[in-house]
C-alpha cells in the first residue's frame, strides 16, 4: 500500500516493544463489546492508474465551463484564474499545514491571513474582517446571529431578492423561528417595501447587492433608516468583483458585510469549497465569529502575527462562544489573496469593468431576440430575462446545444408561477463575442 510506510518487520518489532502478539490485542477492549474486522461490501485497494481512470470517467460525464458555452452565475461564477495561484496554493507549506496554533512556525499562514483581512476590509469598506468563513451563505447566517447578539432582538427581515438558498441557510443556521423570520419568496424588482417592515423588534435587515436577479442598489438611505430603528443592516455580496464598480457596502452604511469570495482565485467546484468573507465595524469586534489574526511582537521586539481574540472562540469559551466554527477556508482564502495581489487596484478594477462590459454586450444581443424582455433597471455581470417559454425548458434545450444558458428561477423558487419564465444569465470576462453569438443562435432555434 503506497501510502503506508510500515513494513511487516516494522510492525512485528513494534508489537514486540508494546508487548502484544498481534494487532487485535490493542483492540481487545472493543472486541469484548462488538465484532471487530467486519466484512465490507467495498472493493480492495487500487493502483494510482486505476483510481485515476475511474474518476476521469466520472469527470468526463459532465459538461463544464471549458467545453460548453457557459453563462451561469447565481452565487458561483466562472472567471479566469492566473496559473500562479494554483501553483502557490499547492506548495507543501501551505497545503499541508494546520491552523496556525504555533505562531513561531506558522508566520507564512498568519501573514497572508493578515493581508487577506486587510484586502477584504478595503473591498467592503469596513473597519475589520475575520480570517474567512466556509462560504458566502454561512457568512450571511453568522452575520445574522451576530446582529441578534448585538441588538438583543430576534426578528430578521430578508429582502425578497436575496438568493433563495441563502435565505434557507440563514433561517436554518441562525435558528430563526417562523414567527420571527420575514422573507417573502415573491419577486419584487424594488426593495423600497423594506422601509415598512422595520420596527423596534427588528434585529437586522439583510439585503443582497447586486441581488439574486442581478440588480444593483444604493442602500444608503435604507441603512440610515434601519439604524434609526436600532437595527443593523447586513449586506450580502455574492459577486465580489462587483465591488470594483460600486460604492462599497461600508460607504453605504452597512453594519456587517457577508460576501462570497469564490470569484477570486477559486474554481466553481460544483459548489465548494469556497471562501466566505465577513466584515464589520470596529465596535462589533468582539462579536465576530471565527479566526482573527492580529499583529504583535516577539521577545526580541520583532513584529509578527498571532491568532487573537480567541476568548470569543469555541476552544476557549465552549458553550459561551460566539460561534461553533473551528476550521474555516484557509487555502481558499490564500487563493483569493494571491489572485487579488496579482490583480492589484488597477487589475481588479479593469477585471470588474470587463465583466460589466461582457454582460452589457450579451444584453444588447439577447434583447434582439423577439419576445425576450429584460427585467433589470441596473446590473453588474448578470441579469434576468423573461422568456416566452418556461425557463427550465429553455435552459434544458440550450444545454442540448452545448450552451449553459443560465439559471431558471423556478429551480430555486418553485412555488411562484409568475417566475416560471425567468432566467438569470451571467456573462464574465471569459465569454467571447463568439460565445455570445452562439448563445443567440441557439436561443433563436429553441424559442
Amino acid at each position: 500500500m503506497r501510502y503506508l510506510p510500515l513494513t511487516k518487520n516494522d510492525r512485528e518489532e513494534m508489537l514486540n516493544t508494546i508487548g502484544v502478539n498481534n494487532i487485535d490485542e490493542l483492540f481487545s477492549n472493543i472486541a469484548e463489546k462488538v465484532s471487530i474486522n467486519p466484512k465490507f461490501d467495498l472493493p480492495n485497494h487500487k493502483t494510482e492508474m486505476e483510481v485515476e481512470k475511474h474518476l476521469s470517467l466520472l469527470s468526463d460525464k459532465n459538461l463544464h465551463a471549458d467545453n460548453s458555452n457557459f453563462f451561469i452565475g447565481g452565487g458561483s461564477y466562472k472567471h479566469h484564474i492566473p496559473a500562479s495561484v494554483d501553483h502557490i496554493i499547492q506548495r507543501s507549506e501551505f497545503l499541508t499545514s494546520y491552523t496556525p496554533y504555533q505562531p513561531e512556525i506558522s508566520q507564512g499562514t498568519l501573514q497572508y491571513l493578515y493581508e487577506f483581512q486587510t484586502q477584504v476590509s478595503l473591498l467592503t469598506g469596513m473597519d475589520i474582517s475575520n480570517a474567512s468563513m466556509y462560504d458566502g451563505s454561512t457568512a450571511a447566517a453568522e452575520a445574522v446571529s451576530m446582529a441578534k447578539r448585538i441588538t438583543k432582538r430576534n426578528e430578521v427581515i430578508l429582502s425578497n431578492t436575496i438568493h433563495p438558498h441563502y435565505a434557507d441557510v440563514i433561517k436554518t443556521v441562525s435558528g430563526i423561528k417562523d414567527s420571527e423570520f420575514f422573507y417573502n419568496r415573491n419577486f419584487s424588482i424594488d426593495i423600497d417595501y423594506l422601509f415598512n417592515e422595520v420596527d423596534e423588534n427588528t434585529a437586522c435587515v439583510v439585503v443582497q447587492n447586486p441581488d439574486f436577479f442581478g440588480s444593483c442598489y444604493d442602500l444608503s438611505s435604507l441603512a440610515e433608516f434601519v439604524q434609526s430603528k436600532g437595527a443593523l443592516l447586513i449586506v450580502v455580496v455574492t459577486e465580489v468583483l462587483s465591488l470594483g464598480m460600486m460604492k462599497s457596502p461600508g460607504a453605504m452604511g452597512a453594519d456587517i458585510v457577508a460576501c462570497e469570495g469564490q470569484s477570486l482565485g477559486n474554481p466553481m467546484n460544483f459548489g465548494g469549497p469556497y471562501v466566505g468573507l465577513l466584515s464589520t465595524k470596529n465596535k462589533y469586534l468582539r462579536q465576530i465569529p471565527g479566526r482573527i489574526v492580529g499583529e504583535s511582537e516577539d521577545v526580541d521586539g520583532k513584529k509578527g502575527f498571532v491568532l487573537t481574540l480567541s476568548a470569543r472562540e469555541q476552544h476557549i469559551r465552549r458553550e459561551k462562544a460566539t460561534s461553533n466554527i473551528c476550521t474555516n477556508s484557509g487555502l481558499c482564502s490564500l487563493a483569493f489573496t494571491i489572485h487579488l495581489t496579482l490583480l492589484g487596484e488597477k487589475g481588479f478594477k479593469s477585471l470588474s469593468r470587463l465583466n460589466h462590459e461582457s454582460a452589457l454586450n450579451l444584453k444588447e444581443k439577447i434583447l434582439k431576440i423577439p419576445e425576450v424582455k429584460l427585467l433589470n433597471k441596473s446590473f453588474f455581470n448578470e441579469f434576468t430575462i423573461e422568456l416566452p417559454i418556461k425557463g427550465e425548458v429553455f435552459v434544458d434545450r440550450m444545454a442540448e446545444k452545448g450552451v449553459l444558458a443560465g439559471i431558471p428561477v423556478s429551480r430555486l423558487i418553485n412555488n411562484n408561477k409568475e417566475l416560471d419564465n425567468f432566467v438569470v444569465v451571467a456573462s464574465t470576462e471569459t465569454n467571447t463575442e463568439d460565445d455570445m453569438n452562439s448563445y443567440i443562435e441557439a436561443a433563436n432555434e429553441v424559442l
Binding site: R11, E50, S92, Y98, P100, I128, S323, E357
Partner: protein, 498 residues
C-alpha cells in the same frame, strides 16, 4: 530597508509595504464601453489594493511559505487533528475540469458524473460506518455537529417533546460540541470523566431526566481512549427517549476495523480532512458529512440526492415533498465537492483492506510511542491507547519547565509540537497523534528527541524558557495582541479598536 536575512531565512515585508497601486501581475484588455448600467450606486472609487507583478508575487508567497511547518516537511503529531500524508493523486483528480469547472446549478442532465461521484462517496461512508443514511453538505466538522444536532432537535419537535432541552457533553469533548449545542438553544450539562479517562457513567445517569435530549460523545475520546461503555450508554440514552450524537473526529482509529453503526449511534460527523486525508490547508477547507441511523434519516438537510431508473436528481427546495421533514439547509449548493473527489480517491486507493491497515497502523504507532516513552514521560492513563496517546505534565514537576516550554523546545528540534493543554481533563496535557503515514524510522527519531528533551528538563528551565530560537520569529506576546488588537494594515500604521 535594513537587511536582516539569515541565509535561507528571508524576512518578508507585508504586501502593503511592497506592492504598488500601478502594478499588476495580470494582463487584461482595456474595457471600451461608454456608459455603465450600474445605476445610482456606481462609483469609481480608490480602493487601496496594492498589486505585484507575477515574479514579485511568487517571491512574496514563496518566502512566506518557508516560514510554515508542514506535514510534508516533518512529523506533525497534533493530537485530535490527524495530520496524515496528503496524496498528490487526490489533488490532481480534484482539478479535473469535469469536477472543478462544473457549476452547482447546471441542468442536472449535464452533471450526472458529479452526482454519481457524490453517490459513490455516500455508499463508502455508509458502508464503513454501518449507518443508514448520509448527508454530504456540511462544510466542516463543526457544521457536521450542527447538522446532527439540528436533526435531533427536529426529531424531538416531531415527537412534540420540546421540553427536552438538555444536552450532556463530557468534559473531555472538543469545544465545538458544547458550542454547537448552546448555539441551538440547548442547555449544556458537562459530565465528568472518570479516573480511567472515560465518561463517568454514574454521573451521566444522574443527569438523565425528563428534560434529557441528547448526549454528544466523542469516540474514541480526546484522551485517545475508546469509550468502553458506549453500547450501555447508547441503550440507556435510547431508553430515556434521547439521542446519541457521536463526534467522529477520531474515526481514524476505527475506520475499516469497527463500525460506529454497531455501537448504537444516531448521528456522527466524519471529518474528511482528518480520516480521509483531504489537506488541512492551513485551517481549511474541511468537509464534515454526517451519517444517520434510521430514526433520524428523514430529518436530513436539503439537498437530497436521489436516483430514478436512469438518472440522478436533487431534491433541493424547502417545500419539496421528499424533504418535508428536513430541518432545512446548511449551505448554498451541495457541499465541498472538491473534498469529495479527494476523499473518494483516497478511499479507492486504500480499498477495504487498506483502510483497515490505516487504523491498525495508526493505533500501532501511537501505542509504540506510548510504550517507548512511558518510563520517562507520564501517560495520563493506564492501558493501551487508540490512535493518539495522552501524557500529563507530572514528568515536568519540580523542573520549572511547563508544557508550553517543552512544546516550544520541540520546535527547535525540528518538530511541530503535539496538541498541548487539551483535553482539559488532564493537567498540562500533551496529546500525541502520529498517524499511520509515519515510518518506523521517523517515529524512532521522534521518540529519541522527546527522550533527550525530557532528560534535559532535569538540567534547569532556561533552555526551555528561551525556546524557540531557530525559528523566523520567537515567542510572541499574545496578551498584547488581544489587548490592543491590530487586525489590518493601515496607511499610517495606526488603527484604534474601540
Amino acid at each position: 530597508m535594513k537587511n536582516s536575512n539569515k541565509g535561507l531565512n528571508h524576512d518578508e515585508p507585508i504586501l502593503f509595504e511592497i506592492g504598488g497601486m500601478d502594478k499588476s501581475g495580470v494582463d487584461l484588455n482595456e474595457p471600451t464601453f461608454k456608459e455603465n448600467f450600474i445605476g445610482e450606486c456606481f462609483e469609481d472609487r480608490e480602493i487601496g489594493l496594492p498589486g505585484l507583478s507575477e515574479p514579485e508575487s511568487i517571491r512574496h508567497y514563496v518566502r512566506l511559505s518557508r516560514k510554515n511547518y508542514s506535514i510534508d516537511a516533518g512529523l506533525y503529531p497534533l493530537g485530535s487533528c490527524t495530520m496524515k500524508h496528503n496524496p498528490r493523486l487526490n489533488e490532481k483528480l480534484a482539478r479535473l475540469k469535469g469536477f472543478s469547472e462544473v457549476h452547482p446549478l447546471q441542468p442536472l442532465s449535464t452533471c450526472q458524473g458529479a452526482l454519481e461521484l457524490i453517490d459513490e462517496i455516500s455508499i463508502w461512508l455508509k458502508e464503513l460506518t454501518g449507518m443508514k443514511a448520509v448527508t454530504m453538505t456540511p462544510k466542516a466538522g463543526a457544521q457536521g455537529e450542527l447538522c446532527g444536532m439540528l436533526a435531533i432537535k427536529k426529531a424531538i419537535e416531531a415527537r412534540n417533546e420540546c421540553n427536552r432541552t438538555k444536552v450532556l457533553v463530557p468534559d473531555s469533548a472538543h469545544g465545538t460540541n458544547p458550542a454547537t449545542a448552546a448555539f441551538l438553544g440547548f442547555d449544556v450539562v458537562t459530565i465528568k470523566s472518570d479516573k480511567n479517562g472515560r465518561l463517568n457513567f454514574d454521573d451521566f445517569k444522574e443527569n438523565v431526566d425528563k428534560d434529557f435530549a441528547a448526549a454528544m460523545i466523542t469516540n474514541p475520546n480526546t484522551c485517545g481512549l475508546f469509550e468502553d461503555d458506549i453500547i450501555e450508554i447508547a441503550n440507556y440514552i435510547h431508553d430515556a427517549g434521547g439521542y446519541l450524537y457521536c463526534d467522529g473526529a477520531n474515526f481514524n482509529a476505527l475506520v475499516g476495523k469497527v463500525r460506529p453503526g454497531d455501537l448504537g449511534i444516531d448521528a456522527m460527523h466524519i471529518n474528511l480532512h482528518k480520516t480521509f486525508s483531504t489537506p488541512h490547508g492551513g485551517g481549511g477547507p474541511g468537509s464534515g458529512p454526517v451519517v444517520f441511523s434510521n430514526i433520524l434519516k428523514d430529518f436530513c438537510p436539503a439537498p437530497l440526492l436521489k436516483k430514478d431508473e436512469e438518472n440522478y436528481y436533487l431534491v433541493e427546495n424547502h417545500n419539496d415533498k421528499d424533504i418535508d421533514k428536513s430541518f432545512g439547509r446548511l449551505c448554498v449548493f451541495h457541499g465541498q465537492m472538491g473534498m469529495f473527489v479527494r476523499a473518494l480517491s483516497y478511499m479507492m486507493s486504500h480499498g477495504s483492506d487498506g483502510l483497515r491497515q490505516v487504523s491498525e497502523d495508526a493505533v500501532l504507532n501511537a501505542n509504540y510511542i506510548k510504550s517507548s516513552l512511558e518510563d520517562i514521560l507520564t501517560p495520563a492513563y493506564e492501558g493501551y491507547c487508540m490512535h493518539e496517546v495522552l501524557f500529563n505534565d507530572d514528568f515536568l514537576s519540580g523542573t520549572g519547565v511547563e508544557t508550553i516550554d517543552f512544546a516550544k523546545a520541540l520546535i527547535d528540534k525540528g518538530y511541530h509540537p503535539m496538541t498541548i493543554y487539551f483535553p482539559l481533563v488532564v493537567h498540562g496535557a500533551l496529546l500525541v497523534e502520529p498517524t499511520e503515514t509515519e515510518s518506523k524510522n521517523s517515529i524512532d527519531q521522534f521518540i529519541e528527541t522527546i527522550r533527550e528533551l525530557a532528560s534535559k528538563t532535569q538540567d534547569g528551565e532556561d533552555f526551555f524558557k528561551k525556546a524557540p530560537i531557530y525559528t523566523p520569529i520567537r515567542r510572541l506576546d499574545e496578551t498584547k495582541a488581544a489587548r490592543n488588537p491590530v487586525l489590518r494594515w493601515q496607511k499610517n500604521d495606526v488603527i484604534a479598536a474601540e
